[in-house]
Amino acid sequence: MSDTVVKITNLVKRYKELVALDNFNLEIKKGEVFGLLGPNGSGKSTTMNCVLSLLAYDEGEIEVFGERMEPSRYDLKKRIGVVPQNVAVFDELTVQENIDYFCGLYIKDKETKSKYVEDAIEFVGLSDFRKFKPRKLSGGLLRRLNIACGIAHKPELIFFDEPTVAVDPQSRNKILENITELNKQGATIVYTTHYMEEVEQICTNILIMDRGKSVASGTSEELKKMIKNTENVVVDIKRLPAEKIEELKKLSHVYEVSYVSDRLTIKCAGGRHNISHVIAFFEKENIEYDRIYSELPTLNDVFLEITGKELRDKED
């Protein structure tokens, strides 16, 4: 039996003149935590909604669990769970009632359903809030409720659509822990986001998309190896003359230097001890600096190098 859980072939989706998905291809294997990474408007949610048969698409094929996915394929839907981007619960029902209702739409047997509902409440840490109505919950707790409603029936394939938007760091960590735990329990996860740190933290496989197209895919390490950049040396420095920046560019393995808002970023391709070379340069030139450190390239660097754009808007 194939271990491909989701397969998208040449998917095209148009909104009048705008091509939201442009011959998009994707394959997700069983047991993966698959990250779909891309800036706002890249087509992540559109992809997800097409896979779930919520959105009509113009061309292409979508298979889930090896079968063609259609709105009336209830046998496939039974095995899928969804955590939508916006909190999708009934305001008039309590936490317990919401989870019970949505789980009950998948699980017929009452006893099994009750057990699953309890498991879900425990899992997301809402035991103390089971009688609360959604409007009494904070943003983070609401998100947890949102998750519980989507996973209570213990699906094999779970879609998370930007689940940590506008969530406090503590709740965000909890959510990421939950997702990892679900994966450990055997679920295949599809995770869409524009936060690269989350993807790097939990995803086993990543696809970066932009303007409806796949830009790059692989593990985090594989993606980083695709680009020239192997190391970034970052220096906090006031008043660096322009001619010194030019001289820095001449250092070995340095291919790009930028100096913005008193922060100098030196991108290096290959080489070892790059930071030592930079320190030596400053000492030789008698240039004072506040702080210097080295960091590995991020997925944002991957995206930037491939597309020329940032993954996130400056405001993010």
């Binding site: 009494k136 919950l137 904070s138 707790l141």
Partner: protein, 389 residues
């Protein structure tokens, strides 16, 4: 003029609702606005719309029919029994007369001819028509029985039944033509005004009252007085545009038969009511409700229908009982309808002005209520909120 401009941007988003409401009301006005004439200066026997079925179709039966139709109006058509019941119930016709077969024979023999008269027997119309039919047949027989020809007997019977020669009018009513249907349209305008203004203004005012928006505005450097002034200005402008549009519609539908002075008075009355309606909207917006679309719809319907029914807009003041009128005096629509009545009957300007002033007093009262509600909700929100978690 940030608030002023935003008002109209938000209003623009509501334009679909406003246009649709206006269209509905225009349809209603068009359906209602048909001309009607009558002359109150001379005696006219009360005529009703009746259905006459002449099953005999002889010169005698045609004589009776002709006589009845000299007073009443015939509704022609091929109606089933059920349809006639409907027409009688809803008073599209007030009576159904059936002249049976053999009528001529019976009349000439002096027998009871059995003309059927179907109507609501608790109303005077039944007795009235019965008297007329009996009178004509009796007179006709009287002349036939002494050997007159039918033509002669019919002529004399009709002459005997022509009562206008016996009646004098002691004083004439206002020289204006009876413009019943135009008056209905002008009255209905009050309901139209409320519908359009409430459905247009309320959603916008509630949006400004929205907690998040109100809090943002409160912490800004925009002075509250300036905000209130601009909101009021925008409300006034919107209401004035609605007034102009409605006044134009009314002139087109019903205004041509009025002279300039009357038109001016009707316009003034309508304008006064426009101001009052806008103030009602402002008052409602201060109430502690969320102002969702369905709530706005319900409020618009309840307020406009209630004020209209009790204020003599749909059902004439003269028909409403004294108890209703006593209650209605506490409604601005009552004074609008009273002003319309006074303009129609040519009352002195001072009497009309009183009606307008009372409407404005209502408006002032609504403002006061609105301010009180606003203050109460401000005090409530100033108290510290309970912790949510």
């Amino acid at each position: 003029m940030q608030v002023f401009k935003s008002f109209f941007k938000i209003l623009k988003a509501q334009k679909a609702g406003i246009i649709i409401y206006t269209a509905i009301i225009l349809v209603m006005l068009l359906v209602m606005g048909k001309a009607g004439t009558g002359n109150e200066d001379v005696f006219e026997q009360t005529g009703y719309t009746i259905i006459i079925d002449d099953e005999d179709d002889t010169e005698v039966s045609r004589g009776l029919k002709e006589y009845l139709l000299s007073i009443h109006e015939e509704k022609k058509g091929d109606f089933s029994e059920d349809q006639i019941t409907d027409l009688l119930y809803y008073r599209s016709v007030l009576a159904h007369v059936v002249i049976p077969k053999g009528f001529e024979e019976d009349v000439k023999s002096g027998r009871n001819s059995g003309v059927q008269l179907r109507s609501d027997d608790s109303l005077p119309v039944a007795s009235y028509l019965e008297s007329q039919i009996n009178a004509y047949i009796k007179h006709l027989y009287n002349y036939l029985s002494v050997g007159e020809t039918f033509a002669e007997a019919d002529s004399k019977a009709k002459n005997d039944s022509d009562y206008s020669r016996l009646v004098t009018m002691s004083q004439s009513k206002n020289a204006n033509e009876n413009r019943l249907d135009s008056v209905n349209v002008i009255l209905f305008a009050a309901f139209s005004l409320m519908g359009i203004i409430l459905s247009g203004l309320l959603p916008v005012l509630f949006k400004f009252k929205n907690k998040g928006v109100a809090e943002r505005t409160a912490v800004s450097s925009y002075r509250p007085e300036k905000r209130v002034l601009e909101l009021s200005l925008a409300t006034v402008l919107f209401s004035f545009v609605v007034f102009l549009a409605l006044a134009a519609m009314l002139y087109f539908l019903a205004g041509k038969k009025y002279d300039v002075a009357d038109l001016g008075l009707y316009a003034l009355n309508l304008f006064t009511f426009t101001v009052v309606t806008a103030l009602i909207a402002i008052m409602i917006a201060q109430l502690p409700i969320s102002g969702s679309t369905s709530q706005v719809g319900m409020i618009t319907n309840v307020v406009s229908l209630s004020l209209s029914f009790l204020g003599g807009i749909f059902v004439p003041l003269s028909v409403l009982g004294e108890g209703v009128k006593s209650f209605g005096r506490f409604l601005p629509t009552y004074w609008y309808a009273t002003a319309v009545e006074k303009i129609e009957t040519g009352a002195a300007f001072s009497e009309i002005a009183v009606c307008l002033l009372i409407q404005l007093l209502f408006g002032a009262a609504f403002i006061v209520v609105g301010i009180i509600c606003a203050r109460m909700s401000e005090n409530k929100s100033a108290r510290p909120a309970k912790s949510e978690n």
